[in-house]
């Protein structure tokens, strides 16, 4: 029976249908992402035996694009974040007369949180969107079909090299961001508090443990995996030509950043408390 027009419940069936459709789509995409990850890892493990080897040259090409070419922008952002944390830290701690304790705050927040998260967000915007656009364009121009009919497994050829490169290069970028952000913070602390760089880094290393570093780098590796899978899934679902590619690219960035922030929160909840 249909609800009368204008009744407060008139829109409920449509709303529930929409919620249902979105839920089914989300479950389907999650399942596809899981299968895709499994298949990419499977090709890495047994590709050579099945005459579908994952080319080292392809991994290097992806690593150059994902990692080396992102270095300038990571450097700029990390330096800025380091300075910003130092300014904010000194300003806050000055209320308690504890400005010199800013080094501990900078060390932990950069290595455990800011460097991995900022690097992840940057790579999601830069490489995740490019991956979605590339896969989407290849799909609508039948390049994926061309790979399949040439006997080349598309996941092995396109996804596995990108996945390996991201899982390796995002932690490398995060490590670089750690170093640059700590340096940025050190330069400002030196100017503001007159602390030498060597004294600053002595305090930084005293505040940090190997666990802190591994926490940040481990998180970055997971971010790399998430960005790749989300980019590929969105690219593989493209329909509707160039407009569809644009939509997929935007969606990949939004989904990846959301996934990164939620994953980061889960890491903090599980490992920091």
């Amino acid at each position: 029976m249909r609800a009368a027009e204008g009744s407060p419940i008139a829109g409920i069936p449509g709303f529930l249908a929409r919620v249902g459709r979105h839920t089914v789509a989300a479950v389907r995409e999650t399942g596809y992402a899981a299968v895709l990850t499994g298949e990419a890892l499977m090709w890495l493990a047994v590709g050579a035996r099945r005459r579908q080897p994952v080319r080292v040259s392809a991994i290097f090409a992806e690593a150059m694009e994902t990692g080396v070419r992102a270095l300038p922008i990571v450097t700029v952002l990390a330096l800025t974040i380091g300075v910003m944390l130092a300014v904010q830290g000194i300003h806050t701690l000055a209320q308690f007369g504890a400005e010199s304790q800013v080094t501990t705050g900078i060390a932990l927040s950069v290595v455990r949180e800011f460097a991995p998260l900022i690097t992840g967000i940057l790579v999601a915007g830069r490489t995740g969107s490019a991956l979605a656009a590339r896969i989407g364009t290849m799909r609508i121009s039948q390049e994926i079909d061309a790979l399949r009919v040439m006997g080349i497994a598309p996941v092995r050829f396109l996804v596995t090299p990108a996945l390996v490169a991201m899982v390796v290069m995002v932690p490398c970028l995060a490590f670089w961001a750690d170093a640059v952000a700590l340096l940025g913070g050190g330069l400002y602390v030196g100017l503001e508090l007159g602390m030498s760089l060597s004294a600053y880094f002595d305090r930084i290393f005293a505040a940090l443990t190997t666990d802190d570093l591994l926490h940040g780098l481990g998180k970055s590796a997971i971010f790399g995996l998430l960005i790749t899978v989300i980019g590929v899934v969105n690219g593989a679902m493209v329909s509707g030509g160039a407009e569809g590619v644009g939509r997929a690219s935007t969606r990949a960035v939004v989904h990846a950043i959301s996934a990164l922030v939620v994953t980061d929160m889960l890491f903090v909840l599980v490992l920091t408390r």
């Binding site: 099945r50 005459r51 390049e143 079909d145 061309a146 009919v149 040439m150 006997g151």
Partner: protein, 279 residues
Amino acid sequence: MTHTSRTPRADGEAAVGEPVITVEHLDTHFGERQVLANVDLTVRRGEILVIMGGSGSGKSTLLNHLLGLLRPSAGTVRILGHDINALDQVSLTDLRCRMGVAFQGGALFSSMTVGENIMLPLREHTRLDARTMRIMARLKMEVVNLAGFEDLMPAELSGGMVKRAAFARAIVMDPAILFCDEPSAGLDPVVASTIDQLILDLRAAFGMTIVVVTHELESAFTIADRICVLDQGRVRILDTPENVRASPDVRVQALLNRRIETPEVDPESYLQRLTGDIL
């Protein structure tokens, strides 16, 4: 390379080789909609078979089945003696190395040069050294009259050149079967006729079996040994071009003469279709 014209077969048989493609009782559904219904088809060695039909007739779906890109609801597709839907991954890769496909839009990889595109199957499936691969790619580029363009990017090629490059990539592994999806679509008549001639030349030079999906009538009658006309997912006729042209079937003649068949409209159902879910 000398140009070769199609040789009509005097005995009325389109081709004499053994079957290399056999389609039996093929049914395909997309959701509730049946796209192919009980399609039976045989392609013999060395034959050029043209699959024709209007938009939505199911010809692209049939091609996707022949390429193993779709799984049928029922029926079998045997390529070179193998059920393409029952092969394991390694055997399917082996089979695909014996098939070449020239896609409608070329499907060249935009991030690679034309030469790299053509060499890709060699790089992935052979242990040839780089120099030998380049020579083989150049050889195929000579065959399709594209010599000297190996360092260009696909975006720098004209429509006809893209099709030629797609042909070069499709034949670089010397396949037993070549599939062409709308090879002359979107080309001017002169360039389209050179593509038709290229298909005939490839068969003459390499003895390939060629399956062409097209809606270009002139092209179909120029190159085909046999023509398969698909209509609403069913094989309407599968015969020599002469017999297809002479077919008394009204729908075949409608396709050949580009006549539009307007179905009779029942006013009641028409009104229901327009307003049923709104009023």
